[in-house]
Amino acid sequence: MRLSGRGVRCVRGGREVFSGLDFEASSGEALAVTGRNGSGKTSLLRQIAGLLTVAGGSIGLEGGETELTLAEQAHYLGHRDALKPALSVTENLSFWRDFLDDQAGQAFNPTDSLAAVGLDHALHLPAAYLSAGQRRRLSIARLLAVRRPVWLLDEPINALDAAGQSMFAALMGDHLARGGLIVAATHAPLGVPAKELRIGGVS
């Protein structure tokens, strides 16, 4: 499986953010997107996720499932964590599991994914009472509950404590070892070996 972009151009609000961007990542590889604030890291991730129009060039995935679009094979972990404060930790996770997964009907135990991110002590707590780090952990549990080959991560280790960062690095390592693919916008080292894609001029 290979994710590639050729001459990708991004325009936001009539202003060109970046253009002529080439990138490539194969199965088992992580791509760390770096650059100063406002250089378009998040925009690039949203373009890959199909949430933002690609103003020029092309982005494609080779070797994935042919009937699904790139967005349908990707997980997007953004700044906004898609959690409903009124629902409990388990309810939030179960909803996304049911909504995102087609092969439903199999028994699903949210405790497994939640234990992997260290949230199994708070199963029935409404998400409103979670701290920023715990919310991030719950979002990460979504990546584990439904398997998708491509992970698009926007500043994934923000708000995580040191233990959380090493936990997430291990999870990313597992995902890569299983043949997954990661594109992450980040300022800090990811904790897994990654190719660097720098957007914008060298600061």
Binding site: R12, R46, A49, G50, L51, L52, L68, A71, E72, A74, Y76, G78, H79, R80, D81, A82, L83, K84, A86, L87, E91, S94, F95, W96, D98, F99, L100, D101, D102, A104, G105
Partner: protein, 222 residues
Amino acid sequence: MTALAALITRDLKIALRVGGGALIGVLFFLTVVVLMPFAVGPDLALLTRLGPAILWLGALLASLLTLDRLFMADHEDGSLDLIVMGRAPLELACAAKALAHWLAAGLPLIVATPVLGLLLNLDATATSAVALTLLAGTPALTFTGMIGAALAVTLHRGGLLLAVLVLPLSIPVLIFGVAASQAAIAGPLSFGTPFSILCALSLVSFVIGPFAAAASLRQGLD
């Protein structure tokens, strides 16, 4: 199907919990209808004549009041991004959200109608006629209002804009809803004609609403 069922269940759960907003519409409806007899005065015949129109206006405004949260809450917390990326077609996801919204916010209005009919001096036949027209008409209000909600999703405080946007689409529903209720109460027209048109409006909105809303969500994402 599981995906859509999950979406409906989640939206219903959120609406029915504390701060969910399912009751806001029906409370507003209650306020409008309770105040109306005091404003009109103690003329029972006049109240009976105005009753169906007042109930319909109250229900229309109440459903517009709650519609702006239909997509905005999901947009603000990022859920909408994941719904757009999901494998369930966006049109069906929109229809599922509208259905959940109608169940949580539209159905209580219909349940409250018989009680509020008492305040407007409507007898049992008249109240059931109004309740029946609301049952047929409020889905049309929700499904056309969804188009406005999808257009206004990126705007903060887009609620008023939504009301203005969907106003032309809700006027026919209001006209035929009130006409059918009046026909059932006073005649001389038959109840069937305006009621069938009301049902037709609802059916048309089931088809057009989800497609228009999905198209404007795709365009509006940023």
